[in-house]
């Protein structure tokens, strides 16, 4: 069992005065909330890592280490009525939407009380009450689906925006093209965050596409495209906010490319031996959480104690979450046979 402080990272190794992040109007409290979610994202994944090493996780474990700013910053720009389709590396986005750590832990451990009751794993669950659509493994497929969410929202006069993510690798799928083109032609309120972390499993971007910036592709659909520093949570937040507001105002879809880096292998089993070590070192210095800590401290938005307290709170919370998740039993076998169809009045 984790104990208080166990998962504290080293705090802002060197406080560089003047760590420059994007300009924002966000007040101190909300910036601290961003910090909270990024840290929560990482600390939940650290706990999941422990559970994995203890053999408690069923199947693979996927980490978003180094990409927390992209998930958290983009999700934080959404309103309650908006709908999001996270991918497997968007745990942070889900936490912002109100997903509890225990839910994800139980998913990974295939427990009976997990949101899917053990029927599916990892982040593969959704809940429209919280504006969350579950992804499927087939990359790209969620893009047209979220375009349809946006279309429906407009039809229903709900004034919502649909947002989803795609990796650099996922941009090569037919659904990326069909979905984004359909969204553009129908001018629906849709935002696509292309999470450019340099790798698709072992495949570098250079073998995935012949261009440097995924945002270039926006022009192919007649929509705005923007490149943001994906390790600057404020930059991601502001860019997403702008795109979301444009979409809400009837301006149609936006493609945002968030440049970041996958700090671990594709999944826990993958040591990423194919990634040049220098890349890790280079990006370690750009760690989005440490950069944000330096920003907060350097600009007098928070004291070390305030940050330590946030971390300590999370740590205590996660102890309870882990305990709860571990205590949940495995699902009863008969559940395997239930729930394929929604009951229907017009069908046997």
């Amino acid at each position: 069992m984790a104990t208080l402080g166990k998962s504290w990272g080293p705090l802002h190794p060197k406080v560089e005065k003047g760590e420059r992040l994007a300009k924002t109007e966000l007040p101190k409290e909300r910036q601290l909330e961003l910090y909270h979610f990024m840290k929560l994202n990482r600390m939940v994944e650290d706990r999941l890592g422990n559970l994995y090493r203890q053999g408690k996780v069923v199947g693979g474990l996927y980490s978003s280490r180094g990409q927390e700013a992209t998930s958290v910053g983009s999700a934080y720009a959404l309103e309650p009525q908006d709908v999001m389709g996270p991918l497997i590396r968007n745990l942070g986005s889900m936490l912002v939407r109100g997903v509890q750590p225990r839910e994800v832990m139980m998913q990974y451990m295939a427990k009976s009380d997990s949101p899917t009751g053990g029927k599916d794993g990892n982040t593969h669950f959704g809940d429209l009450k919280r504006g969350l659509v579950a992804p499927i493994s087939m990359l790209g497929s969620v893009i047209p689906v979220m375009a349809g969410v946006a279309l429906a929202g407009r039809m229903q006069g709900k004034d919502l925006v649909a947002l989803t993510y795609i990796g650099d690798g996922g941009t090569s799928t037919g659904d990326f093209h069909e979905g984004l083109n359909l969204a553009a032609v129908l001018n629906v309120p849709f935002v696509l965050i292309a999470e450019h972390n340099g790798w698709a499993y072992s495949t570098p971007t250079s073998r995935q596409m012949r261009i440097k910036n995924i945002a270039t592709r926006a022009a192919a659909y007649g929509i705005p495209g923007e490149v943001v520093d994906g390790n600057d949570v404020l930059a991601v937040y502001e860019a997403t906010k702008k795109a979301v507001e444009r979409a809400r105002a009837g301006g149609g879809p936006t493609l945002i490319e968030s440049k970041t880096f996958r700090m671990k292998g594709h999944a826990e089993h993958d040591d990423a031996g194919y990634v040049p070590k220098e890349h890790f070192e280079e990006w370690k210095l750009k760690d989005p959480i440490e950069r944000f800590e330096r920003h907060l401290l350097g600009n007098g938005l928070a004291t070390e104690d305030e940050l330590r307290e946030i971390v300590a709170k999370i740590d205590v919370q996660l102890n309870a979450e882990v305990d709860f998740a571990l205590a949940s039993p495995m699902p009863p076998p008969e559940r395997a046979f239930e729930g394929v169809y929604e009951p229907s009045e017009v069908s046997v």
Binding site: G126, S141, P144, G148, D175, L182, V185, E342, V346, V348
Partner: protein, 324 residues
Amino acid sequence: MAPVTYIEAVRQALWDEMEKDERVFMLGQDIGTYGGAFRVTSGFLDHFGPKRIVDTPISESAMVGAAIGAAMMGMLPVVEMQFIDFISCAFNQIINFAAPNRYRWGQKVPIVVRGPAGGNVHGSAYHSQNPESYFHHTPGLKVVAPGTVADAYGLLKAAIRDPNPVLYFEHKYLYRRIKGELPEGDGLVTIGKANLAREGRDLSVITYGAMLHVALEAAGRLEAEGISLEVLDLRTIKPLDQEAILATVRKTSRVIVLTEEQTTGSVAGEVAARIAQNAFEWLDGPVHRLCCPDTPVPYSPTLEEAYLPNVDKLVAKVRELASY
């Protein structure tokens, strides 16, 4: 009411459901101004407006994907495939997104995917397909294939109201070749219920779609010879009405499953397998399939005629089996 054609029944069902329920809307290629390649939706754009009659780019996967998203939001989308053959381009969205959603995370996906299926119109390999056997395997889907005017109407209304993903395959050969009365009132036809199209004593023909009419014509012809055919129209392919299938087998003890599909891996095979497992003791003879040969659908009329089951082929098969 005056009798209407099969395609008019399809059109009327869409019209009535759109009138009745604001959540119903359509996605498709050329369904707006043009009214669809077969004119199923002509007049819809003027009446229902562009918000509910959505012309799309040539993107079957995105059309179905968008329908899934809209359905999760509480809408009732109906996707038209210009020809059902192009459903192959939306295969992944249908079997991997629409179908398992309810099981995986409890979210229903009430979409309908419909379009003109079937051959005998010299459409060759890509405008003649019967894709039901590509989908009857997938848990979470429902598949219907009406063979009459009333079923075309009642099953489409049911498909739209059903809270699960339903594939509705309309047979283009029947579009303007058969007429019938539209039922008074709602005219709903329950999904999953077969229809005993003709009572008989000697042998059961289990079929659906355009082949229903081949079976009925053969039944008439064989009556003269003193052979009494029972004809069961499945109407729904998934879920199969196993009770009705077993009932007719128990009654006649001889069965031919007649479908317009290549034989191997056909829906007819699934029907035969269920009979072989659940009505074995009632059988007086082998369960025969009369389907198409295992070839793509050929283009030339002489070839397609050789390819398709027809009354002569069925009559011959019945004689063979009756004398078993």
